[in-house]
């Protein structure tokens, strides 16, 4: 067993990261957290997380960037807002999780076992080119790129969906595709 530091030292903090967390939409009240743990007990995924939501909030506001951005927690968060509904301080925990995901994708620090970033990029690409998302196409793309869906027995499910007429044979699309591109490019300053 490797001996590791179990208590975080003050010197490992990254104050810039802590400032950034406070600056994101939803992060403004993070310092009001009283560490009560209501979020963690409401969260159905917390039993799978390496850091519970309460701990992520604490680590994030103190600036423990590496722990937070490298955690499984942010990828296990299913955006169900149960934590936020229970937080006595009305901290926007789900929005903070979103901001942490965006930052981790931007910095490329997500754990390799989660295909979330691939999926998110495919999703974004599909919207950029078509304006709408056709789920079975998205799933096929993911399958080709990660083979993750083997776990789910996708072929059986695919057949079932096909029989029930729930598959789309052509990807859906908006008519005004160039408008979508103009808007999204404008955000990038293009």
């Amino acid at each position: 067993m490797r001996i590791e530091e179990k208590v975080k030292r003050e010197s490992r903090r990254d104050p810039e990261f802590a400032r950034w967390v406070r600056s994101v939409a939803g992060g403004e009240d993070i310092r009001r957290c009283i560490q009560c743990g209501a979020c963690s007990s409401a969260c159905q995924l917390s039993s799978y997380m390496d850091y519970t939501p309460r701990r992520i909030i604490n680590l994030a506001r103190e600036g423990f960037k590496k722990e937070v951005l490298g955690s499984f927690t942010i990828w296990l968060c299913a955006s169900c807002y149960a934590c936020r509904a229970q937080c006595p301080k009305e901290i926007k925990i789900t929005d903070i999780m979103y901001a942490l995901k965006r930052r981790a994708i931007r910095e490329g620090t997500y754990p390799a076992r989660f295909p979330t970033a691939v999926m998110a990029k495919e999703f974004a690409n599909m919207i950029f080119s078509r304006g709408r998302v056709t789920e079975n196409y998205l799933v096929t793309m993911l399958f080709l790129k990660t083979n993750w869906f083997k776990f789910l027995g996708m072929s059986r499910l695919g057949l079932g969906l096909l029989r029930a007429g729930r598959m789309s044979f052509f990807p859906d699309s908006v008519k005004n595709r160039s408008e979508i591109k103009t808007i999204l490019n404008a955000v990038d300053g293009k």
Partner: protein, 287 residues
């Protein structure tokens, strides 16, 4: 009563039975719908995790189109759409810097949004605009079923103003009006894991499984849901869940399908045959 209608991608894809049954039911109830012309994806759950401003701008385009089309309340039946559209309104009103960015992105395509269109859910519209009395009058074949009303997460929180975020009752009331007996179902707003089934199946399937098992334990004949992602997760993966955690048989209907059956609309028109789990059982019940 006239509304703008935002179907979203799921209702045109794997959740088309939701659209089919919702359109039938809204016609019966006299809810007039006008689809937003050339609507685009709302950004759903994943996009917010990739790019905040783009996600808001995508939702913003739908609002801008809706405003051009008269600016009536928008009805968004899909929970993820309902949430992202509502969220966009809130964020645009609460964060001026983000609003400025979204305005300028929309402006580059000649679009504009005031930030004032209301986003509604069918449950809200049926209960508060149409009213339970009208629903009761339309019932021709009272359901007589025991139903577990499962709401899922994203319509009841954090922005919904028509029901309780943790212990909602709107769908139970409607099902009662349709002649069904809602069973006490304590997991009504627990997350089904739908948004992570694709990426973390080992955790998500277990969540879905516990929802199904609880419905069985409560003696429900079927579950009803207002969300295409929940329906897909509970219905589409039921086979897989049965294999992994032991046999589970639980039909999962959209609440609009159940309502339609009570109104005497034919199962074909309501897309009942599109359910994967125990579709036969549902058809039997609905006869």
């Amino acid at each position: 009563m006239k509304y703008l209608y935002y179907p979203g991608c799921s209702l045109k894809g794997t959740g088309r039975a939701y659209e089919e049954s919702w359109l039938e039911v809204s016609k019966a109830l006299g809810v007039e719908l006008e689809e937003i012309e050339d609507w685009n994806c709302c950004g759903s759950t994943p996009y917010m995790g990739v790019d905040e401003v783009k996600s808001l701008a995508l939702a913003g385009r739908n609002f801008a189109l809706a405003e051009r089309q008269g600016g009536m309340d928008i009805i968004a039946p899909c929970s993820a759409c309902y949430l992202s559209l509502n969220k966009t309104n809130h964020v645009l009103n609460d964060y001026p810097e983000l609003r400025a960015k979204v305005d300028s992105a929309l402006g580059s395509a000649g679009l504009k949004y005031s930030g004032r269109i209301k986003v509604r859910h069918p449950l809200d519209v049926i209960l508060n605009d149409v009213g339970v009395d009208k629903v009761k009058k339309l019932v021709k074949k009272p359901l007589g079923l025991k139903l577990a009303a499962y709401y899922g997460c994203q319509i009841t929180r954090p922005y919904s103003d028509f029901d309780d975020p943790v212990r909602p009752v709107s769908m139970d009331k409607l099902m009662e009006a349709a002649g069904a007996k809602p069973v006490p179902y304590s997991m009504k707003t627990k997350c089904c894991g739908g948004s992570i089934t694709g990426t973390v199946p080992e955790a998500a399937l277990e969540l879905a499984c516990s929802l199904l098992k609880e419905a069985v334990k409560r003696g429900a004949d079927a579950m009803v849901t207002p969300c295409p992602l929940c329906q897909f997760n509970l219905d589409g993966y039921q086979d897989r869940i049965s294999k992994k955690y032991g046999k589970t048989e639980m039909p999962v209907l959209y609440f609009t399908q159940a309502l339609g059956l009570a109104f005497g609309i034919s199962p074909e028109k309501l897309g009942i045959n599109r359910c994967l789990a125990s579709a036969e059982k549902i058809l039997e019940i609905s006869r």
